[in-house]
Each structure stands twice: as C-alpha cells, then as structure tokens.
C-alpha cells in the first residue's frame, strides 16, 4: 500500500521497502507494431512489482522511480505498471502546466484497464525518445495520444483477465473486469495485486479491444486534480524550487538589444557583492537564434539574491546591434505601410478588384507584440559532472528538445543528458524553448558545480520569444443584400520561421492557414496576401499562436460588415459560414473544418447568452467563432463602455472539442483562455524604443485581475468524434467578441489590441 502521492513522490505508508520484481513481458516487439507513439519508442507494458522507497524518497530519484528497472539493465518505455500490492503506476509523458494532463492520462488508462482511480500513482517521465513525442504544445496531448493511452490500459486489462483465467485454470470468457479486480462467473474475485505476478509472465495481446463508452467511469466526467494538494500546501516542486546539494545560483545579464555582443565587462563591483562567487562570460549567440542560449555575462552566487545584485552591479558595454534602432512604433508603421500595398497572393478566387458593391468597408487591424509572462519565469538547474554526464531539472514543455539542445551545446551524446521534468509554473509556449536549460548546463560546466539559473521578471519580459506584432488590412465590397461580394485580406507579421532561419521577410503561405487563407466564409471573390515584416527579436509560439491575430481580424471584420449592413451579428456570421460542409479544399490535411460544428458552437454560445435579449443601457453583445487545434470555440461577450472604461459583464463560451475527456479541465482551460484573451484585449503590449524592450514587470505588462474577470460560463458540446485540443483554442474568439460588443455599444469599431479607446 502506498499512502502518499504528491508530485510523483510515492512512499509506502508503512515505511517498508520492497525489492523490485524485474519481470517484464517478453513479447513486446509484437506490441510495438501496434503503437503510434513513433519511431524509437519501445512502448512496453511493464508489469513490475515494488518500487523501492529508497529510490523514491528524495529528488532527483523521485522523478525517475523507474531507475530501479534501468539499473537492472532494462530500459523499458513503461506506461503502466502494477505491483503485487495492487498499486498501478502510470507514467505521464506530457508536461503538467495547468491543463491537468496528470489527471487526464490516468483517467484514460484506468478506464480501459478497469483500475480504481485511487490506486493509480502518477510518475513523471524524464525526457527521452523512448516515451514517444513529449512536446507538450499545440494542444496535442489528448488529441494525438488518446488512443495510445487507451491501448496501454486495454492491454493491461486483457492481460489481467488472461492472468485470472490462468490462475483459475479456466477460459477468459468466464472472467470479467470489475473495478480493480477480476470476477469469475461463479462470483470469485482476484484483485489486481493478486494477478500482477502472473500477468507479468504473459504476452501482450496484439490488438487489445477498447471498452465501449458506456463502461467509462472517469472519461467524460469532472476529474479531480491529482496535484491539488501539492499546490495548496506548497509541496509541489516547480522548476524554480529545485534544490541540489552544492548548487550555485546564477543570474545573467543579456544584451538589452537583441543581437548585441559583449564589448567589454567590468565585473569589479559585481565580484564585491557578498555572496558572489564568480563571473562567467557566455558565448554570444549566432544567427538565427533558434534555441541557443542568448549569451551575456553570468554572475554565480551562493543564493539568488546575491546573483541578482551581482548581475545588477556588472558594467557591460555592448557592440552595436543591427536592431539598435528598432522600436515597436516604427515596426508597426512599417507593417502598416506594407499592408496598404499589394502583397504576395496565397489565395485568389474571382477578382476582388472588379467586384464593385454598394458599399466598401476597409479596416486595418493591429495586435501588439506579446509576452508569455508565465508566473514562474524561465529557470533551470543543471549539473554537468566531471565524467561528462549532465542532469537537468527544468519546467520544460519539450524535455526531449531540451535534452538534445543541451547535449549539442555541451558537445556530448544525448544519452549523457537526463532531463527531469518538474511542474511548470505556466508555459504558454515559452517553455518549449530550451535556451534557459542550455544556460544552466553551460554555467554548470564552467564552474564545476550544479547551477540554477533564475530569470528575473524583467529578464523574462525583455528576452522572450515574443508573439509577433502584426498589421492586417481588410477590405470588402458589400452587395445590395449587405453580404460581401469580395474579401481582401493582407497580413503582415514577422513569423516564427525568422527565429530558425536568416532572411525571412514575412509570413509564408503556411503561416496564413490559421484562419486567413482558410477562412470559412462563402464569398465569391477572395484574395489573401502576405506582406513584408522583419523580426527584431526572437519570435515564438504563444498560446494559440497566429490564431490570436487572425481570429481577431477575421471575426472583428465580420462584425463590422454586419454593422455596416445593419444586420444581426450572429445571423450575419452564420450566413457567411453558409451550408453544412467539410472544407476539404481549404484544409488539404486533417483536421478539416466542419462548418456545421463551427455554427454549432456559435449558436450554442448565443443561445446560452440570451442573444437578442434587451440589454441594459450602454451594453453591447459581440460574438465570434474560431476553429483551431481541431476544436471549435465561440464566445459571446456582454460588455459596456462607461466614461471611457470597458467593463466585461459576462462571457459565454461554447466549445466543441470532440470527445471530452476531463470536463472540469476543459471548463478551466476555457475560463483561463477567457482571462488570457481579455488580458490581450484590455491590458498591455510589449513596448520597445532604441532597440530595447522597455516593458519590464507587471506594472507595465499588467495582467487582468480578479475584479476585472467576468462571470464566465462554459458550455461543452456533446460529441463522440475524435478529441480536439483544449489548451489554446479558447483564446482566439474572445477579443473579437469583445470588439463586437464594443461596436454594438458605442458604434465604434475596435481595430487594435490592446484596445485603447480614445
């Protein structure tokens, strides 16, 4: 029996130790063929007995309790384990950053396996190819791996049934799965623990059968957060909380202007700060920056405070950077100019120039450059040992990328690098990039001791992989019936590709698929163009990526067209989407947008919000719907403007994410996406002058507060279709729905995020 399970720490309640029973089914190669986990992953159902308490008691061992198996010469890709006490061990190969994946994965496996939720223990996978794809981004965990985890559970179930049949010397037809036990037709039962040893000797079935949905006990319900207690008692280990014996603390001064190289360093004052141990100059990064450490000058100290103070005391001069004259204002003006002229077409149907309507509506939309601003800033701890091996402890969305990048920077084989994944204090895409892990590893190697790098909030906001600033020009000619005869859309923003390749001068065709070139409206003449834009910082993916600015412009423009036509915004939007169909021509690869589902969430959000009801004086209601990450989300926002201040009163959010696994976490992701979207709409963008980001902390990058948070009602559509993503798709429709509400309330369009009412 295991009494305590917090953050992957598992200790026998009675304090006893058990030797692991290193028995694994040997027919796993056949099973390998059945899995979609990818090349190099071995996907073995590891049935084993016992996890030695002494292996689990202390960090870092608790991150890898499978170590005992590996020590014995096995390197299995263990997803499910069972010991002879009946405890089920489930390895979570995805990073936990608030989406509840450490609760959803065991729910799926337990349902297929027949396991009791309370007897399941979660272990966090380290970064290694044997765990399959661990990149926890793109809202992909459930939508890409649902069936993998079901298969793991179903395999275990069939083996346990076979084990019971063998122990009873009967056939499997006489055995049925109960809850954490197998029942014989005559009423006898065998608990999972009593079956573990026998099951471990069996071959895994080639093609395990999934259970019917009617037998699910956890999937499709509100699943409790397994790690809640750790969070509310302060015992969860985030990246910034890692403590390794002999560890030193580092803070790094990076070039205030992107691309600046160190010209000179005077570290006299820094070294005089009590607690400062060393000053280490890091190599300048090359172009493109990709995942490289940014370089700069690091102060190594006995504690974080001394490292911060020492860093502040450094006198560093920098060579002139090519980005020295960059300002966010000038960049916006440049993109503005770019979208006023013809760009490079990526979609062209009919002739938008020839389509003359009764009325022409044109608008230019802007979205500011945006930071991730996770509450936990980037941080990592690394220990490069004299034998060349390296351990990293980090809040990483992509531990395999971190492993490979650290190995590359150290010049060692990836097998020499172990990346332990901690809890992430927010990710939002920032922690997919391992630059901060590389910093820790390089510094550990330089000083010969474990080093924790902690980014200050200012470091985070000034050296992010930013969401790109954008300008978009849109023009439509409306016919006599008020419907658009033509639709011209030009989009300009420095794309993520600029972080990984030199010479990128604007978005490519693929960058415009996020709702622009594949916008779903029925319009006879359509032209979509990309326009020039250059990066002056590292650009990266932020929660819902380009859908942020494209979902905004497309939906806000439709609201403006409806307004110009004197039409109801919901009806106009539904009418533009047109008949039920799958847009196979616009979505050459799955997932393909299904207009019936898009209209479904729009109608549901509108109905739940009471669309069309009489609103209080000064209120307006706006609506928007967007398809991204295989899911459909619509928002209806009820807002008012009083004395120039925007107040959001209520938000209704309808989501169709196909098969819903964890209702509570779907709701919480939509609630969070609403706050995230409102922060984008109402707060601040990143500002820069003279090449330097001037935004520095939460005074200049303000987050939405509790008092500003509207009542948010989330409505989940019933569906048995394949699961879609949940983490990101709630963001894009919020801001345009708010824009529509303000348009209705004031008659004035909203064309920039963050919104600044004159």
């Amino acid at each position: 029996m295991y009494g305590l399970e917090i953050a992957g720490v598992i200790q026998p309640a009675d304090g006893s130790t058990q030797e692991p029973l290193t028995v694994l089914n040997v027919s796993r190669r056949r099973f390998l063929k059945q899995t979609a986990l990818g090349a190099g992953s071995v996907f073995v159902l590891g049935v084993f007995s016992g996890c030695r308490a002494d292996n689990l008691a202390a960090w870092p061992d608790r991150a890898e309790p499978m170590g005992s198996l590996e020590d014995a010469g096995f390197r299995p890709n263990v997803f499910v384990g069972l010991n002879d006490a009946g405890d089920v061990f489930i390895v979570c190969s995805r990073s936990e950053m608030g989406q509840g994946i450490r609760s959803s994965v065991p729910a799926i496996i337990a349902d297929e396996m027949g396991a009791d939720w309370d007897r399941c223990h979660i272990l966090q996978a380290t970064g290694h190819p044997r765990f399959g794809n661990q990149n926890t981004d793109g809202s992909r965990s459930i939508r890409n791996h649902f069936d993998d985890w079901r298969r793991a559970g179903a395999t275990a179930r069939e083996m346990l049934l076979a084990a019971a049949a063998q122990q009873w010397e009967t056939d499997t037809e006489s055995c049925s799965m109960g809850v954490h036990e197998v029942t014989h037709a005559d009423g006898r039962t065998l608990g999972f623990g009593e079956l573990a040893v026998t099951a471990a000797t069996l071959s895994a079935p080639n093609a395990p059968t999934f259970r019917p949905r009617s037998e699910w006990r956890y999937i499709g319900t509100d699943i409790d957060g397994r790690d809640n207690k750790a969070f509310v008692t302060g015992s969860a280990t985030f990246g910034i909380d890692v403590q390794v014996e002999g560890m030193r603390h580092a803070a790094i001064m990076r070039s205030p202007v992107f691309g600046g190289k160190v010209a000179s360093v005077d570290d006299t004052a820094a070294r005089a700060v009590p607690g400062v141990l060393d000053v280490v100059r890091l190599n300048d990064h090359s172009m493109p920056p990709a995942f490289q450490a940014l370089g700069g000058v690091a102060v190594i100290a006995e504690n974080t405070w001394a490292a911060f103070k020492g860093r502040d005391a450094l006198q560093v001069t920098w060579e002139r950077s090519p980005h020295q004259d960059w300002s966010t204002e000038a960049q916006r003006a440049a993109m503005d100019a770019a979208v006023q002229a013809a760009g490079t077409p990526v979609r062209n149907e009919g002739d938008v120039e020839a389509a003359a309507g009764q009325q022409v509506v044109e608008a230019t939309y802007h979205v500011a450059m945006l930071p991730h601003a996770s509450m936990e800033p980037p941080t990592a701890t690394a220990w490069v040992r004299p034998d060349g091996t390296c351990e990293v402890w980090a809040p990483s969305q992509a531990p395999q990328t971190a492993r490979g990048s650290v190995a590359g920077a150290l010049g060692v084989d990836p097998e020499a690098v172990t990346v332990h994944v901690t809890f992430l204090g927010g990710g939002f895409g920032r922690k997919s990039k391992p630059d901060y892990c590389i910093e820790a590893a390089l510094l550990s190697k330089a000083v010969g001791a474990p080093v924790k790098v902690t980014w200050s909030r200012e470091d985070d906001l000034r050296h992010d992989y930013y969401h790109p600033p954008s300008a978009q020009y849109m023009r439509a000619a409306l016919g006599e019936d008020g419907k658009p005869l033509s639709w011209l859309h030009r989009s300009s923003f420095p794309p993520i590709g600029s972080t990984f390749a030199n010479g990128v001068s604007g978005p490519g065709a693929g960058d415009l698929r996020s709702g622009v070139s594949n916008m779903p409206y029925v319009i006879p003449n359509v032209r979509v163009e990309t326009s020039e834009a250059f990066a002056h910082q590292r650009i990266g993916w932020l929660r819902s990526v380009y859908n942020i600015h494209h979902g905004f412009s497309v939906n806000a423009f439709v609201a403006e067209l409806a307004h110009a036509a004197g039409a109801d915004a919901r009806d106009y939007l539904l009418d533009l989407i047109g008949p039920d169909r799958e847009l196979n021509d616009l979505f050459p690869r799955p997932p393909v947008l299904d207009t019936a589902r898009l209209k479904g969430v729009i109608r549901r959000a509108a109905d739940e919000a009471g669309w069309g009801r009489t609103l209080p004086e000064g209120h307006g209601m706006g609506i928007a719907g967007h398809f991204s990450f295989s899911s459909y989300v619509a928002h209806v926002v009820d807002a008012s403007v009083e004395d120039g201040a925007i107040k959001v009163h209520r938000v209704d959010c309808a989501v169709d994410c196909g098969t819903a696994v964890n209702l509570d976490r779907i709701r919480s992701q939509m609630e969070g996406a609403t706050v995230f979207g409102l922060t984008i709409a109402l707060k601040d963008g990143i500002e820069a002058v003279d090449g330097r980001v001037t935004t520095g902390n939460f005074d200049t990058y303000r987050l939405l507060s509790l008092a500003e948070t509207p009542d948010t009602h989330v409505h989940i559509m019933d569906s048995e279709l394949p699961s879609g993503g949940v983490g990101e798709p709630g963001v894009p429709p919020l801001a345009p729905a708010l824009a529509g509400a303000i348009l209705q309330a004031t008659g004035r369009p909203v064309r920039s995020l963050p919104i600044r009412l004159a």
């Binding site: 608030g98 509100d222 302060g234 985030f238 911060f308 909030r457 969070g672 948070t709």
Partner: protein, 153 residues
C-alpha cells in the same frame, strides 16, 4: 555577515544574511522552504505572500534586517496537513491550474479573512485583485474564498 533570528512555521531559525536580502530568498534559499514563490520581485503580483506577525506581507520586498525576531508563517505552515478551510475549498473547487501563484493567493486570503470572515463577492474581488494569476483561475478563487467563508475559514 549579520545574523537574524526568525520563527518560521513555529520553528526557530538563525540565518546569516545581507541586511537587504528579502525574506523571500531567506525562506527559499537559506531555509529551503520553496512553497513561497518568486514571480516579480517588486510586490506587484503577490505570489510571495506570507504572514509576518499575523499579517500578509509581500516577502519579495521585505528586507530581513527589519524582520529580526519576526514570527513568519508560510504556506507550508498554514495548516499541519493541508486542511485549512481555504486549502480544502481550493481543492473542492479545483482552483489550481499550473498552481504556481496559489500559495500566495491562499496566504493573502487567509490573513484577510481573519478580519473579514464573511466577505461579499465584491469584497473578495477587491481584496484579492492584488494577487495575479496568469492561468486565469480568478473565477474559481472567488468561488473558493466564498465557500471557505461559508464553512468558517
């Protein structure tokens, strides 16, 4: 380096620290209690909230030199076993997403509720707006505080 004596969660600690070292880093780096979080270092966000002599304080800007002899409670010491009414309510409402800001949220609310045991939703909004959450768990924070009040925090 000067030494300071603190009581943290009922235990006496003597630490050697520079006078300007904030309590946050004393707790995290010198004493090893990492439940109190760094997120801004400038008292904007409240992730570092602890109780000093019974009142909520932002430990990231509280210099140790002014705290000699202070009685400090951190999230690790709010209750013996995670059963403070706010902790129970947080669990019941499934408040945490990433969880990083929640210790500060709970410590801030716990101190305030000693003087405001029966707050209205509006009072909760005003008081708790000093604590930031990037995941956007605010609606549930409000719900959990009201639930805890109902059950007698």
């Amino acid at each position: 380096m000067p030494t300071y004596t603190l009581t943290v969660n009922g235990q006496a600690h003597t630490v050697e620290a520079e006078p300007d070292m904030p309590l946050l880093w004393v707790l995290r780096d010198l004493i090893g209690l990492t439940g109190t979080k760094y997120a801004c270092g400038s008292a904007y966000c409240g992730a570092c909230a602890v109780h000093v002599n019974g009142s909520a304080q932002r430990s990231c800007v509280a210099a140790i030199s002014a705290l000699d002899g202070a009685d400090v409670t951190t999230i690790e010491g709010l209750s013996e076993d995670g059963t403070h009414p706010l902790q129970l309510a947080w669990n019941e409402v499934n408040v945490p997403q990433c969880g990083f800001c929640q210790a500060g949220q709970i410590m801030h609310a716990a101190a305030w509720m000693k003087d405001n045991p029966n707050p209205t939703a509006e009072e909760v909004d005003q008081n708790q707006s000093s604590n930031l959450c990037r995941c956007g768990t605010y609606q549930r924070i409000r719900e959990a505080i009201l639930l805890a009040a109902e059950k007698g925090a």
